[in-house]
């Protein structure tokens, strides 16, 4: 039976700051190279989300103004639909600003809290304009890595907000080099069921193809049962991964 993967790209025109579409390209290409039929649907602000029609959701990061628009739109039904989908086993990847919006709230340096959708048990606070943004290359130790994958994830982070996890969220990994969630507790990202949030862009998936495959597996498994992904020649990606690890140190 032919496999198919249905990807939902949320707010592609608003939250696309750091090459985020590279994550979509990577998921789609790596699935197609295995003969999986891929359909990517873009869901912008104001368009209803029929969450049951997708296996994998992606949401990226944006500038403050764009993030406010997306946060408002998530409160109009999309947030609840996403929570429900993840409870039912859907796969989700949220990066940077999108990651913050998956939490309970984002508290800016001044002004009112931006409500999140409480899909991940975390909250984010901006420490004030005088505190530096957390910017730079980052390497984390993946906790735990899926079988066969190397132990590290690499990327670039650039965020003002500091994120603290609650008890229901497991960190995606531990910081080896860089800042991570808040620059203090060495945690990076969050995981809950098949939902992942992270500050790693770069974008995340091209230089961490094993994470892309992990997400594709999780997403396919829900409708297609246990599936095997044929190995690909990842030499170029592995070299880029190693180069990024060296660059971060």
């Amino acid at each position: 039976m032919a496999l198919d993967l249905r990807i939902c790209h949320l707010y592609p025109d608003l939250l696309n700051l750091y090459g985020d579409r590279g994550n979509i390209t990577t998921l789609a290409q790596r699935a197609r190279w295995r003969g999986v039929a891929v359909e990517v649907t873009e869901v912008p602000v104001g368009t209803p989300l029929r969450a049951a029609e997708y296996d994998l959701f992606f949401i990226g990061g944006g500038e403050d103004r764009q993030q406010v628009l997306a946060a408002g739109d998530l409160q109009q039904g999309k947030g609840g639909a996403l929570r429900e989908a993840v409870e039912e086993g859907a796969t989700l990847l949220a990066v940077c600003g999108g990651y913050q919006l998956m939490g309970r709230y984002y508290r800016p340096a001044e002004g009112e809290d931006l409500p999140g959708i409480s899909l991940l048990d975390l909250a984010t606070q901006h420490p004030g304009k005088r505190r530096p943004r957390l910017i730079g290359n980052i390497v984390i130790r993946w906790d735990p890595p899926p079988a066969g994958a190397p132990p590290t994830l690499v990327g670039f982070e650039n965020h003002g907000g500091r994120t603290v996890l609650g008890s229901a969220a497991h960190p995606l990994g531990q910081v080896v080099a860089g800042f991570g969630n808040n620059g203090e507790d060495r945690t990076e990202g969050a995981a809950y069921r098949n939902a992942y949030g992270t500050y790693l862009h770069g974008p995340l998936l091209p230089k961490n193809p094993w994470f892309a495959d992990h997400l594709i597996m999780l997403a396919l498994r829900r409708r297609h049962g246990e599936v095997e992904l044929a190995p690909l020649d990842d030499q170029i990606e592995a070299q880029a991964h190693e180069a990024a690890v060296r660059r971060a140190r």
């Binding site: 750091y18 990577t26 103004r65 764009q66 910017i135 730079g136 770069g202 091209p206 230089k207 880029a240």
Partner: protein, 463 residues
Amino acid sequence: MTDLRLGAGILAGRLSAALIRALGAGGATTMPGRVARAVAPDLLARLGRRLMRGSVLITGTNGKTTTARLLTGILGRAGWRSIHNRAGANLPAGIAAALLAHSALDGQVRGDVGVFEVDEAALPLVVESLRPRVLVLGNLFRDQLDRYGEIDLVADRWRDALRRLEADALVIYNADDPLVADVARDFPAARTFGIADSSVRRGEALEHAADGRYCYRCGVPYRYEAVFLGHLGAYRCDSCGTARPLLTVAADNVRLRGITGSVFTLTTPVGRADVTTTLPGLYNVYNIVAAATAALTLGTTLGLVRTVVRDFIPAFGRGEQITIEGHTVYMLLAKNPAGFNEVLRTVLSGARPVVAVIAINDLTADGRDVSWLWDVDFEMLREHCRAAVVTGIRAHDMAVRLKYAGLPEEAITLEPDEERAIHCGIDLLALGEPLYVLPTYTAMLRIRDLLARRGYVRAFWED
């Protein structure tokens, strides 16, 4: 006492410039300015005041160096002596270094007018010091997010800079850029430039890298009648009616001729002129129209503009043509998504698939974050590039990008060493075929440095 201090600053700066050159340590385009300002912090303001015809400042994400060089060329032909940061050192220290090089110890400046390109983020400070007579705002694209932060923050700095302008100053801005127009449209003395020929539009839909999608006032997406480049075009907000301002100076009847340049009609308040240029791409049409608007504002004639544009030779690394071992090599700086897309469109506009060297660095001046490579439409290369050599500090990232853009792996050569990469590119050429080198900023300087040592080009500060 303060005059002594100014003299001491000038002396210190000039000595350091002489020392740097004597040591062969570079072009002394910034450091002398730093030294001089450490001794005399108000040096920029005090030297700037001595320029009889004042200063023209040029800022924008892309095209500053070319626009400033065009303007200096036109003013020079009109008999004005310009002081100009030609080598592109565009922070306050670089501008100070340019002024210092033409100042006597008593603070007398040997020049009539300052033509300075200015870093986008440094604009308020430079405006405050130099009190320019004319300010040219070119365009605003996402660039070096790790350094400048969000594009809205840069726009806010420009708003701040406009508030600091003298009452008799004039602002010249790109009306096709909604982000720029929003900064400048309410300034009392403003002139605009843009493209009037909708035949060169890319369509009505924005490309992925477009930034200014939403009306600044009401957050509704702009409706475009024509998109020319990135988010530049003829736009309107259907909610509040904000639209592209009327164009004072425009390019009409534009005919792009790929890498060899373009021809177009310049329409101005003082008449029309047909213009020919060897500067390639639509982005250079914008640069020419910007420089022409500034030159006409300062009182030069349209005929002079036309002559200088026709004879203009591209600045270092900006469409520069180099001959290496009998092969023609074009070097086109590409430092952000909007700029890279335009360079790709220009290079790939011919019938034959090309050979390209893509050089990606991640130093401070490039932006340390290379995620922007995924905002560039490298998918364009799939049908139009037969071989790509990737090089630079981030060569591996670029190789991955091309793989996922759909280039066959055998068409991608990974060679982190820049010199070997250029040779590798040349070896791939057929007889008479040109090589296209597409570097980020510091990669461009590095490759030019390597070529200068081999005698193929002059050092960038001599160019």
